[in-house]
Symmetry: C2
Subunit: 302 residues, 2 copies
């Protein structure tokens, strides 16, 4: 898993501050998460191949998470895209995009599938051979979801030497990789653990933005390898969180600690702050392993 931050600032796009958008790469598959204005330019700067994006997840319909989507859909058309595009987002997203395409008489020549979300409970919204994506219901001024990406376990790895030692036929390999024991010479049961190694550890990533402090999400994101959590404010501006339904750096770190995540990446900073160092310092008072997102930055998820 590799996470590329295309934009991680809140509110208005500026010369050097892009609104929320990020690309998650899982086994050569690219998922776009949120799409603020300017995302397509950020994709170009990050040298992401547009055609590899087949699934887009939109957390909520505030402009700084969404207003780059109509343009990206149009650009896909102009680039001659043929592959299907799936868009997951709050109810209303289909009406909005469809209206904009209609007004411009600019229908796509590829298929556009909308998966509109309305549930207030977490749900599985995407699954393939390698990954599942669940919503993480958040608490913001409008209906908002985070997204939890979880790799599926790979098959167990064959222990070639052991398999040779027991003279096991190739026809059994798939059974062994799926965890089954094997009966040799019609009598000896060889435990799977003798024939295989553990598969690589599965990785997980949770995207949580925008939201007020919400402990309800902790069970769901327990032990994820990487948590991106919004930190719009510092504790000095904590009084703004209730009205705007945002989180402070300290609150984000508290969530990370209680969920025992591997690493916490902060983002969605208010542009009122000149330096981001205070975000890290404030969060590290609660949780040690804190990173600061920045536009264009990549994080490998181990």
């Amino acid at each position: 898993m590799k996470l590329t931050i295309l934009g991680c600032y809140s509110a208005t796009p500026r010369k050097l501050n892009n609104p929320t958008a990020q690309v998650l790469e899982i086994k050569n598959h690219l998922f776009l998460v949120d799409c603020g204005e300017g995302t397509q330019v950020q994709l170009r700067k990050s040298k992401v191949k547009f055609s590899r994006i087949k699934h887009i997840f939109i957390s909520h319909l505030h402009g700084d998470h969404f207003f780059g989507l109509p343009g990206l859909i149009s650009t896909f058309r102009l680039l001659g895209r043929e592959a299907d595009l799936h868009i997951y987002g709050p109810k209303g997203i289909k009406e909005a995009i469809t209206l904009l395409l209609k007004l411009g008489d600019s229908w796509t020549n590829y298929k556009l599938f909308f998966h509109e979300l309305i549930s207030k409970e977490s749900e599985l919204i995407y699954e393939d051979d390698n990954v599942t994506v669940h919503t993480i219901p958040l608490n913001h001024r409008v209906y908002t979801n985070g997204f939890l990406f979880r790799e599926k376990p790979s098959p167990r790895t064959l222990n070639i030497e052991a398999v040779a030692k027991y003279k096991i036929d190739k026809s059994q390999f798939n059974n062994i990789k799926s965890g089954k024991d094997v009966i040799v010479d019609d009598r000896l049961t060889v435990a799977n653990s003798k024939l295989t190694f553990d598969p690589p550890k599965t990785k997980s990533y949770a995207f949580c933005s925008d939201t007020a402090y919400k402990e309800d999400i902790i069970p769901q994101i327990k032990n994820v390898d990487l948590l991106y959590h919004e930190a719009t404010f510092l504790e000095t501006e904590q009084h703004l969180c209730a009205k705007t339904k945002h989180t402070t750096a300290k609150q984000a770190a508290t969530i990370a600690k209680k969920a025992s995540v591997g690493q916490l990446v902060l983002g969605h900073y208010s542009t009122r702050y000149k330096s981001l160092d205070s975000f890290k310092e404030e969060a590290q008072q609660v949780f040690e392993n804190v990173l600061l997102a920045d536009d264009g930055e990549c994080f490998e998820i181990w």
Copy 2:
């Protein structure tokens, strides 16, 4: 009059190519013409004070002329705008913006007035003490207007020496500036031309994008000081104009010549061309006074 090009490329925004948007300044009044994605960042780069924009004119509802508008409207709100904002554009623009604001529950705290255009004939859509704005109906794939900005004549300038010589009372000055003759000592009529100088020449600017070659616009833009005309293609790609309803550099120059404009500024270049020199060369075969628009550039209109 001063024209600032915020973006002058067609189709998709890129790292160094912004879609159409420009600001026209007339006597300290700012008019925004078109608003492609990224316009608000371009406004910041050009150091335009957002609050001075009170009127926005949208030529048509293709993304590269319009998809920056929802974000700009939101940013005005976040910046605490209180002044009214007037938006002129094709029918449908109100529905689109209203839907996006509704979905984000992000109503503006300033007044938003939509002036939806449907006429296929030129019409006066804005007027104040200094300027008139007429639509220039164009020929594109969707309903499209250019815009003609014309300064109103200033009052004539008083010839202070002449006024003193005839001992004319101050109470007459406004009449004289408006062009009236004056009767002195109840008998002598002094011609206005002896008491005043001509006012500064009024200036005019025509914005024509996007459009196929359309000679019908020539009478309307006759003798304008500056014509911005799209030139999406060179003559080598002239075969693309019919389908896409765009213009070549040579065709734009032909319009400029037949309309006897002062200067022609080309823009809306297809990003297929690596260099823009050929646009100027091709146009200058027909019309000498050609300038190339570029993002961030300013043109004073004399």
